[in-house]
Symmetry: C2
Subunit: 558 residues, 2 copies
């Protein structure tokens, strides 16, 4: 691993080709293509958020290069639910062909359409419900209710001439969800009895033993914390977590408090959720945040974004006293959220800032104010046992999650040769209940960076990492074209290294003499002279400072 | 908060002045000064490891600027234990005056001396033991055994004419430690009965409810994992955690395996620990790692560094197949360590890499293979109750930890006005059992960056962050001195932004015309012309790319 790249054969008629192009070996940018008889169905089209070694990048998209020449063959995109890692890349897909139909539940499509509106795209959309079936060319789709940390999530069964695939999307098996809408194991049982040839299953929590606790176990904790809070309460959570917000509304209401929503995405998503009936707002509870200051401190709850320590979100700005609401002694802040790996430092920075201002901070680390949205190992075992799929493809997760999930499948009796550890770009062909790996595409990262999509390369990111760690030194020298003699400079500028110009006094004569020596040896080529400067400065800075800043030499002929 | 800076008054004779200069509001660079009658005692002198917003920095030192003019008054440095955050800055202190005596336990001094040797400093040192008292000018020091995640840790009672201070250093209260050396609550009781006027107490785990589990609870887990491991076992932990390594040696020995130490600091520290008798090496268990390949795979345990995902440490290199030992199927890797906040992404990257290679990875998340080295809330309550200090200064921790610790003190009946929430540089005067905050020094971060100490500024780090996120564009234009007319260029170079030169074709004419306009308006000053270039390019890149790279203009007169 990683798998060697090899081209898949031409797809035979009547064979279903399944290619995950995002979401394997990573948590994010979930996207899988299904092709049979020349027609393509896409399931999910999400984004991945960059890690610290991808500095400056805004978003990472699935590598859709293989789709570019096949856009006319795409019959539609099924979106399993409304999280960014499943819908976030839809605008970038629709930029390539804007009339690809998008298919999903009411809430999923509403959130996707709101996102597309920001990109000025009005999509063709088809709203579906659990239990519904749709024929899309050679694909018969059946939608199955699943429970997740956003309402209205769907699994999709894809029935074709070649066999049946069930893709769970993200899911867990909360047996007492707030909306009563459980993962529909009855349908799993029926589909399993009819025969599921390939099972694409969420791996995010496959390495977590046991069972995810009930979402409703959080309600009483919120209620207690709010009941005891002497002044304002500020709750931060994910802006799409309708049921978490529901419990905050209910707890506030029970304690005679009103709720103001804070943060653009929180306001937008909850307005959508309330309009569509997913969020039940107790009469008179919501109040515009501008009017919230008129309410006594012990009668208000702010529901805000920023639970991951995002620097521009409401909660971070509050912690930095860069927001109209300035937390202080007596205020209570609840982070009703997970700590996504990589965000811990930022989250603790916010917690620390709030604590320093005098607020009491309640979070996952000291109270049961969060449960995961993904099925843990115990739940996945139920799934495998009720479904009894012929083949399993763990999806959605880092490799350790995929491997843990494959082991669970094997524990329930599925043979090792029927569990597939794939990567993004692994091509699997299904026919007559058999799955074969027939290719490995060479897929990369597509970076969204400001207005640019796919222009920033890994080389640029490497440069950014060097610049960010070490800074740079630029050296400009003007030489006489005929003789190579230095006529002006070296002019030296540095940033992120040492901005005191005097430190370079020692290296200037070295540059001049190195250039004189090169000129004496007949070197005139600009590139070669620049290399001389680079080596001279590089050696000096490494010896004197034990550092390796980027060195940017420029030799100009006058 | 942060406290307003104000100068302390001159120190009156017979008053003890306590100034924490590192370790408050942060986990690291612990250092406190004590002054009475013109003489200064220092307790601890550690380093802080940089966070991601301090890119390229190697270490952060306490700001010792106030000490620079007082070096001759320093009588000694007490080092409570041998961790980097308590001893790491000693070389930088001794660079200022190399004959400041260092005082500590046998292991603490051995580790400090090994570090000083790398800096070619041979210190004056005084080895002390628990129960021992030493008179150092106006300071009478009594050393008290405490238990921590490194052997031979000491608390120190500092008795002066002005009153008695007890500083715990880092500690916990394991009641059945491997070496039988518990935190000496009998001495705490005696000191408390005699009267402790100020208690400096470790806050690291003050917000963790309950009690830290026993270190020895890990042994049986290690034993089980090793017993079941079919091939090689690789254990990673902190290179100073003698008792963790002891348990690995014992478990390996019990399972008929030999142990090879990997990683420079692991080998160095364990050699010291074994030589001094802190590590008991079962006869014939240790083997040089070069000979370890001669041993069957199921008879070897590698004990390595890299448990925090450090990219250059052994474990990361193994995960990247950049080490002679290449993990594979059947191998078991145990991370017997914590996940220090900020390191999670790096740690999971290593776990994922190892898993992908086929190894089974056992870590804190899936087995009880780590316990903390710090007293949790329950233990701290015991401390306060047995000591009954007059005043409390929580130290060693982020603000949330200090605040949690102060609350625990108050829970045991210590008045709020006797618990001090201080920052680095807060000056506290003690006399007759009373503590007053009398000043707030303006202390900063001192960055070690390659060979430089204190030269890199926060402005440099800000530049690095911008460079690292956005890259830079440099523009060189040669103008005619008399007319301001562009005679050569603009030559544009960019790194970390877009390295395709063609993207700049659109902005070159804009630069030329902006400079022509400025020249027409009589602008000749180089700085002003550079500002014209900066604004022109900045506006273009922001409009076209929605990015803000660093723009480095240079206008040269020819």
């Amino acid at each position: 691993m990683p798998n060697a790249v090899f081209d898949p054969p031409e797809l035979a008629k009547g064979t279903l080709r399944v290619t995950p192009i995002g979401g394997l070996g990573e948590v994010g940018r979930n996207m899988t293509t299904f092709e049979i008889d020349g027609k393509i169905l896409i399931v999910d089209c999400g984004v991945l958020f960059p890690e610290e070694y991808q500095p400056g990048v805004d978003l990472i998209l699935p590598d859709m290069s293989e789709l570019k020449d096949r856009l006319d063959d795409v019959l539609g995109v099924v979106l399993t639910h409304g999280h960014e890692d499943h819908i976030g890349a839809v605008p970038y897909l629709l930029r390539m062909r804007s009339d690809i139909p998008i298919i999903g539940s009411g809430l999923t499509l509403a959130l996707t359409e709101a996102k597309l509106k920001e990109h000025r795209i009005k999509p063709y959309s088809l709203t579906v419900k659990e239990g519904q079936t749709e024929q899309l060319g050679p694909f018969e789709l059946e939608f199955v209710a699943v429970n997740h940390s956003i309402p209205d999530a769907l699994a999709v069964a894809i029935k074709t001439e070649a066999g049946t695939v069930l893709a769970t999307g993200d899911f867990k098996m909360d047996q007492l969800p707030l909306d009563g809408r459980i993962t529909d194991l009855r349908s799993f049982a029926r589909l399993g009895a009819d025969g599921v040839d390939l099972f694409l299953v969420d791996s995010t929590n496959a390495d977590v033993p046991g069972f995810t606790p009930l979402e409703r176990s959080i309600g009483p904790v919120l209620d207690q914390v709010i009941a005891r809070a002497p002044r304002r309460v500020i709750v931060a959570s994910f802006s799409s977590h309708v049921h978490r917000v529901q419990q905050v509304l209910d707890a506030a209401h029970a304690n005679g408090r009103r709720v103001a929503l804070l943060g653009r995405s929180m306001v937008r998503n909850m307005t959508i959720a309330a309009d569509l009936g997913y969020l039940r707002v107790p009469e008179g509870v919501l109040i515009d945040y501008k009017k919230a200051t008129d309410i006594p401190d012990d009668k208000i709850v702010y529901m805000s974004t920023g639970s991951q320590g995002e620097p521009m979100a409401v909660l971070s700005r509050m912690a930095n006293l860069d927001h109209a609401i300035e937390p202080g002694p007596g205020d209570t802040v609840i982070l009703a959220s997970s700590q996504i790996p990589g965000n811990e430092s930022a989250i603790y920075r916010v917690i620390d800032g709030l604590t320093k201002l005098g607020a009491t901070v309640v979070h996952k680390g000291n109270a049961k104010v969060h449960v995961s949205g993904h099925a843990a190992a115990g739940e996945l075992l139920y799934c495998y046992n009720i479904l009894k799929p012929k083949n399993v493809l763990p999806v959605h997760g880092e490799y350790r999650h995929l491997i843990a999930n494959a082991k669970l499948a094997q524990d329930t009796g599925i043979a090792e040769e029927n569990t597939f550890l794939a990567e993004n770009g692994t091509v699997l062909d299904l026919k007559d209940g058999h799955v074969d790996v027939v290719g490995q595409l060479d897929l990369g990262f597509v970076y969204v960076d400001g207005a640019s999509v796919g222009e920033i390369t890994d080389a640029d990111l490497k440069d950014r990492r060097i610049l960010g760690e070490e800074g740079f030194i630029s050296i400009i020298v003007v030489v006489e074209a005929q003789t190579g003699r230095v006529v002006s400079g070296p002019e030296i500028h540095a940033r992120g290294f040492a901005e005191d110009d005097a430190v370079f006094d020692k290296v200037r004569p070295k540059i001049v003499s190195a250039l004189a020596e090169a000129a004496g040896n007949g070197v005139r080529d600009q590139h070669a002279l620049q290399q001389v400067v680079r080596r001279t400065v590089g050696r000096w800075v490494n010896t004197s400072y034990r550092r390796r800043p980027m060195i940017v030499p420029l030799v100009i002929e006058a």
